[in-house]
Amino acid sequence: MDLFEPTRLAFHLLLTGDPGLWRIIWVSLWVSVFAIALMAPLCIAFGFMLAKRQFAGQRAVVVLLQALLSFPTVVIGLVIYLLLSRHGPLGAFDLLFTPWAIMIGYMVIALPILTVFTVSAVQGADPRVYETARSLGAGRLQAALTTLWEVRFAVMAGIVNAFGRVVSEVGCALMVGGNIAGITRNIPTAIALETSKGEFAQGIALGFVLITVAIGINVALAWLQGRGGLE
């Protein structure tokens, strides 16, 4: 197979601003960013509570979340499909095959990643952080925020990881989004579709964007950690 020609075409599509291609990129990015932005505060708070508070069943919740990390996304897609389908309990909202359905799926996929990373970060934090903050007059919430700030890079690694997972996820997005051009077609579903049609140029272009996004985010995180040289 000639790889040169599809690659040349891929860069042509990217550089000429092909509207169809950029629409796909846009759908992927905004849905993923919104899903993570909505879930991150909730999961970080939940993760902090799981790490710090003692309650019955705490260990079981952590084990369940860890198990969810490796849960097949296509099964998550199936469950959400059933919930959102016309005869499902949430069918009245008419969300199936919309970007919102994909976002719900992404939120479910991101939940265990964000929470488990936070639990791990907070459990790994020096216990003197929280105590020092409390002793200097911080309330419980402020002391919790101080602790999270001290382990922010570990928490941010969770956010980056979750984003990387959802932005490249295909099974759930395909099932609940339907891969509708201009509406729910995103980078991974478009790559799968174009490749199955033997149209490699768009797939290569989108793959290039996906890899650039992944590398870009990790470089940004490393840069922030480097600034933490202060830290």
């Binding site: 020096d126 002793s135 200097l136 202060l230």
Partner: protein, 208 residues
């Protein structure tokens, strides 16, 4: 009273502190000096006990939040937040919602007091052990607490670092703060300005 498995500490023990006085807690390792300081600071849950502070009474189970503004505990190995020394000192003042100008003035004064004025922008990991301890003392002093609890402030220090911390601890007592120091350091124990209290599992007693 504090229970560690079968072991019970301070059952029926009583500790009374006079405002403006300095105290040193002595006693063998594991007798509960640190635990006692942490209970007073509201950092260590304990089974039962009553506390009275500034004409307000409470129980250890219901530690009043406002006391945390007046009672400051400094760990044996203090934790400094991952930012500059200056911002570490500002942390507690910010929690008290003091105006920015006052915060800056108090931080400058405390940094000079601890001999860290030149190190204000330095992150904690670039400080020596002695400098970290002095920064922690300055971070506590800047808040002007009613009661200051210091856990082994000279442990793991020697030479000049230990001498400088000793001078700061002495200065805090002379400045009329109410200070309680848990220590094994003979030089701290011998400080004339400090009242000596011996801690054992069951009681806390004054030593002449």
């Amino acid at each position: 009273m504090k229970r560690f498995g079968d072991r019970v500490l301070f059952d029926g023990a009583r500790l009374e502190l006079e405002a403006g006085s300095g105290y040193v807690l002595t006693g063998a390792n594991g007798t509960g000096k640190t635990t006692l300081l942490r209970i007073v600071a509201g950092l260590e849950p304990s089974e039962s006990g009553r506390l009275a502070f500034c004409a307000q009474a409470s129980t250890v189970l219901d530690y009043p939040e406002e006391w945390r503004r007046e009672i400051v505990y400094v760990h044996q190995q203090p934790y400094l937040f991952r930012t500059t020394i200056e911002e570490n000192l500002e942390y507690g003042l910010a929690r008290r919602h003091l105006p920015n100008a006052e915060r800056q003035a108090r931080v400058r004064e405390a940094l000079a007091w601890a001999g860290l004025a030149e190190r204000r922008d330095v992150p904690p990991h670039k400080l020596s052990g002695g400098e970290k301890q002095r920064a922690a003392l300055a971070r506590a002093k800047v808040l002007d607490p009613t009661l200051l609890l210091l856990d082994e402030p000279t442990a793991n220090l020697d030479g000049d670092a230990r001498r400088q911390v000793l001078e700061l601890v002495t200065a805090l007592c002379i400045e009329n703060h109410t200070v309680v120091v848990a220590s094994h350091d003979p030089e701290i124990i011998r400080l004339a300005i400090l009242n000596r209290l011996r801690v054992s599992d069951l009681r806390i007693e004054a030593v002449e």
